[in-house]
Symmetry: C6
Subunit: 271 residues, 6 copies
């Protein structure tokens, strides 16, 4: 089981990229300045790791509310880096394993990276990796201590490593001294109206005359993953038959049905 | 023991439906607007999962006080979906198992679902699945972390999954970040007088002239399961001999004996 | 050891009744209205389980201070039900066993019950079954979760089950959601003066002229088990030689020695 | 190791009495009214167990500060009962054993007792048996639950059992519901001046003219074990050579050296 | 490993004395009245154990701040007792062992002592033996309970035992009831100026004319171990070459360099 | 695995020095008075261990904020001591090992040191060695107790040992009594402007005319490791192509790009 698990986390390089592609199923859409700035900073980091010999280890933490696109952003940067070794360490591949096994698997990913000249490791949803829950609070100190050490451990001479972490629990990671263990910190916020507009325009599912109405219904803030789900719901249409036509551009989303869907979801939120 | 347990949770499809049928032993009765609205929303979700390719995973949480019919509602939706794979994950089938075994069994249900084009998984009484108790508080973090991951994990390409959770402990699940892990939230309330009236009329156990008296004795709120038990008690009659006649419609419930039963149960409650 | 333990909890039916008989070593004495009312309600429940097909599971919790006769009452109801399967789950038979073993044994009792058309299971002194202690507080969550599930689990089609629980710790069981898991709740109180009088008269150990003096010495409240112990002490007489004569009715309890015994016991209480 | 341990706790009857004799190395001295009253009550209990068939189980708890003679009193009662089965359950024989082993050993003592027509079991220093420490607080819930059950479990038909517990931590045992599990409670206090005088006179180590001086130096309260140690220290004399002469009655304790010893010990106490 | 460890704690008698000699590497210097008084009281205890038959067990606890010479004092008393069995139980010999192993080893030392007519056991740094740390607080309850029992357990007939404990954490041991388990308590304080003067004079490392200057620089209190370290540092001299000359008495400590060293150490303390 | 791990921590002497060299990858730069004073004090300690026979064990703790150069300083002192045995105990070599294994490995390093006439052991990042995290708080008491004992344990006759600890968590170590277990304490602070200037001048990456501007942008305090990373980022230049030219001295850092980098990093900090 353990070996099988190890195998799953150790895909061929191509496979690793495929796995990462699954982290942005909706693709990457333009969505505002904050996103652009983050992307630019991240790319500078990739360059520095590639070129500088004196900072062989750079570490960067993406922080933001749930569903704001942290994992997709990290995956995009990794994919576009062109580095020969990229891996994502995600709780999805660690389900039900015991703490020491998880530690071995995480450590293994770093050891493998130390053998490649240029590597990127994504530590996705760190609170999930350390099995954190606010009640208690409880978490795996074994895994936390492993991360605290690995995030600061230099790769061997001549090897270079970029570690990208993602989290929605900055405060708690801070009190675990994990935030300060990363060199660079980047905030990934919810979309503001201008960002939502970019998304709506890019998708082109609304009649141009409905865009402003839709935006003013959406309010001041929404995380991108939630916005995309909402649009998908609305795109089904009342009878659940509109989706294909809208995707092909033959039809637009019915703005009133969009209001209904938004309503369902909003009441869910205040539930 | 473990394998036997696995077998029990992995029934043939027909069997799974049979198991679900047991979740609504009293059948489904009309019981007011709130119920109708929930049913409609749930059906839209089923449709969206069936038709949309871009939201292959939808997750929905039913929340409400004890005995309000959450499990029966979830079972009904699953049965009526017509999906080829439907399973209920319930603490009843996990009695006495160790945490890692429970995790394996839960994960197995999801893995099986990932092989079917259309699946529904009911996570029934999540507080019981995670072995939660308010004193402490205590719960299985191993199982909780598993649910936190599984509820957000996309099925593989081309597969679609609807996860329905039920709970009477929304607040505690919220502080475990489990509520926000579900896309949609639905409230399943106790019956109001109008809902109770629909139930009484549908059962047709009372003389028409007694219905209003019965309703005004019942007060402002009662969960459906409790109401059905009370009516069953009253239907036995003082001598315990009336039940069959009432079921066949030859006799009606004696309203005074009904008051007695209600009294016994109410004093139980304020006990 | 485990198998031996299992054997001990799985006696032949006659044996089970014998075991239950041991729960009322002093026999059942008339002891006031509260007792009569409880007995009547309990018998109605037994009838309902026997006759109704739509409430195959009824669950009832006896709550009251230490020594008020909860176990004896539950045993009496079970014995007199005439049901083919009756079992008591008691901490006495679980001494020193590990939590998972206890869980297996408890679950086994329920599984056995599911095979009988009519069954009664007594969960005696639930706080002891779950190994509860106020300091901490500590308890076995494994066993608690098992009870939470079993107490709500319907027997299979055509089988019927009455579960009777007893406890002196209602508040704590309430905060564990165990109280609300039972359908019906019954209070078993300490004796009031009128109840004590019934007991004294039934035993006929006092001279008729001493009864009122004895009662007024006893005060406003005493649990029945304690009262019976006190009378037994007094019945020994100063020299420890009166017991047989009193039992045979040849002699009565010396009221002054009775005062002495009461004194010893009372000072114990305020100790 | 476990078997050897079992052997040690399972001595022949004579041996058990020998072990109990070691609990009163200084013998029993007259030491005041409280002691006399306790002894009398205890003897009544012994008689009741012997004669009454309806209270086959009596349980009595001795409570008092450290060193007040609880263990010696319990041992004396057991020795003088003449019961065929007497055993002391003491932490001294359980050193370093694991909780489940301790539980087995304690349960074994009760099972053995159930085979004898008349038995006494001393549960010595219950806080030590349950491994209690105030910080935390910590204790063995496994052992506590065992005691809670055993102390209330009736011996089989025709067998009779007296359980005597000793403790210096009444409050904590109370909040564990262990105090209320005993029928009778007896307080074993520190000596008052009159009790100390009885001890001094009985020992006859002081010159008659020094007795009052010694008493007024001793103050209002001292536990008997501490008083006996103090006298022993004083009896050594300054040069450590007087002990034998004093024992033989050829010499008396030097009252000034007695003051010195008392001083050393008192400053220890306020340390 | 365990057997090897056992071997190490079970040295030949001579060896045990050698081990104890290592506890006073700097030898014992005269250092004030408090020290003299402690020594005298301790010697009386040794005599009493040797001569009295009625107090076969005496127990004494040395308490004081870190580095005040508790271990050296205990070792000196043991060495000079001339008892055939002397042993020190110290955390140094228990590094990395598991709790049950430590318990076995400690119990073994007591069992061995019970075979010798006259024994001394030193329980050094009890807080370290029980693995105490203030945060939590945490400690080994297994070891604590063992000590609580062993410190009060009488040796068998005809054997005598003196137990000496040392600790810097009196308060915590008190709340564990370990302090009251010892008969006698002795305070081992930091040196006062008069004590320091005795030490400086005895060492004879300072020019007579510098003694008072040195003393007034030292302030009101310093533990002896710290004072000896400071003098050793100063004795190296600025170039690190003076030590031998000073030891041989050819040279004295440079008082200004002494001030520098004192400064380094003091700032360390207020750090 | 354990043996392999042991092997890795037990390198040949040369290897140990190589490992230590990796602790100062950026080399040691002059960086202000505080650093100079620390170095001097540390060297005195090395001399004292070498020469004094009466203080065979000296222990010194370096404390300061994250990234201030504690590990590099400790490594430098060890390397330059010329002692035949030098070892660093670091969490990097203990990843994922169990507590008892870590304890064995740490104890092994000390045992090996006891065989060498002159040894230095660095306990790097003690909070990481004891697996400390502020939430809880949690830590390995097993490892902590081991350190508490080892740091005070004298090497055998004729052997000498200097132990250097580093930590960023002085307060917590203090409440664990670990700080007071070290003889000497040294503070390693962040750089002040004068220290930063020394670093900038030594590196010679800025145009002389830019130094003051750079300094005033840097503010009042920055840890050395962070400063070196910032300069490295700036040295890449906007296009990531300047690094080599700057290293060779052909080019200087663009002060405006330096401002940008500083900005990125500072916002990270206040993030
Ligand atoms: N510019 C964008 N940035 C990020 N995500 C985008 C962007 N455009 C579209 N997306 C889509 O939005 C979704 C973002 O979801 P993602 O899982 O990355 O969010 P997250 O912040 O990691 O969520 P969680 O808090 O649950 O971990 C993805 O499906 C991705 O394809
Ligand atoms: N419209 C209805 N909706 C739900 N349940 C109904 C309805 N009509 C009748 N019932 C019956 O009411 C009962 C509802 O019980 P159910 O176990 O589903 O409640 P629950 O909320 O899951 O309770 P719990 O809080 O104990 O888990 C079932 O027996 C079901 O057959
Ligand atoms: N009417 C009665 N109801 C209950 N018990 C009675 C009655 N008459 C006599 N008894 C006797 O009183 C005793 C009641 O003790 P029982 O153990 O049932 O009390 P309990 O409430 O279960 O005590 P605990 O709190 O210790 O579990 C029994 O010995 C029983 O024979
Ligand atoms: N009348 C007496 N009652 C009790 N003990 C007596 C009496 N006369 C003399 N003794 C002696 O006093 C001592 C009492 O010590 P004992 O160990 O019984 O006290 P304890 O209360 O059990 O102490 P601890 O709190 O430590 O358990 C014994 O040595 C006993 O021989
Ligand atoms: N009169 C004295 N009493 C005690 N120690 C002395 C005396 N004279 C010299 N010394 C020396 O002082 C040192 C005292 O150290 P010791 O380890 O006994 O202190 P401690 O109180 O046990 O310290 P800790 O609190 O660390 O356990 C020893 O090296 C001992 O040789
Ligand atoms: N004078 C100096 N003192 C210390 N470090 C220096 C000095 N000059 C340059 N450096 C470099 O600064 C860096 C200091 O980092 P180091 O890891 O020692 O810091 P640290 O305080 O141990 O950090 P952490 O808190 O993360 O353990 C090293 O790369 C070292 O080469
Ligand atoms: Mg994510
Ligand atoms: Mg339900
Ligand atoms: Mg009972
Ligand atoms: Mg005692
Ligand atoms: Mg010491
Ligand atoms: Mg460091």
């Amino acid at each position: 089981d353990f070996l099988k698990a190890l195998d799953e986390v150790k895909p061929a390089f191509g496979a690793a990229i495929n796995t990462l592609e699954l982290c942005r199923p909706g693709g990457m859409l333009p969505c505002g300045e904050a996103f652009d700035k983050n992307l630019k900073t991240a790319k500078t980091l990739v360059e520095q790791v590639k070129k500088s010999d004196r900072t062989p280890l750079m570490t960067c933490l993406f922080e933001g509310p749930s569903s704001t696109g942290k994992t997709a952003l990290a995956a995009s940067i990794a994919i576009e880096s062109g580095f020969p070794f990229i891996k994502i360490v995600s709780a999805e591949n660690l389900i039900g394993l015991q703490e020491p096994t998880k530690v071995s698997m995480i450590a293994k990913v770093f050891e493998d990276a130390y053998k490649s000249p240029l590597s990127i490791i994504i530590l996705d949803d760190i609170e999930r990796l350390i099995e954190y829950v606010r009640i208690g609070p409880r978490f795996s100190n074994l895994i936390l201590q492993t991360l605290l050490v690995l995030v600061k451990k230099n790769p061997p001479k001549g090897k270079k490593l970029l570690v990208i972490g993602t989290t929605s629990e900055k405060d708690i990671l801070e009190s675990m001294r994990l935030v300060e263990s990363f060199n660079i910190h980047m905030e990934v916020p919810s979309l503001k109206p201008s960002g939502m507009k970019e998304v709506l325009l890019a998708l082109n599912f609304f009649a141009p005359t409905d865009i402003d109405a839709a935006l003013s219904a959406l309010g001041q803030e929404m995380p991108i993953k939630r916005l995309l789900m909402l649009i998908e719901m609305a795109a089904q249409g009342k009878e659940g038959e509109d989706a294909i036509a809208i995707l092909k551009g033959h039809k637009k989303i019915d703005i009133h049905y969009f209001y209904d869907c938004l309503n369902d979801i909003e009441s869910s939120k205040s539930f």
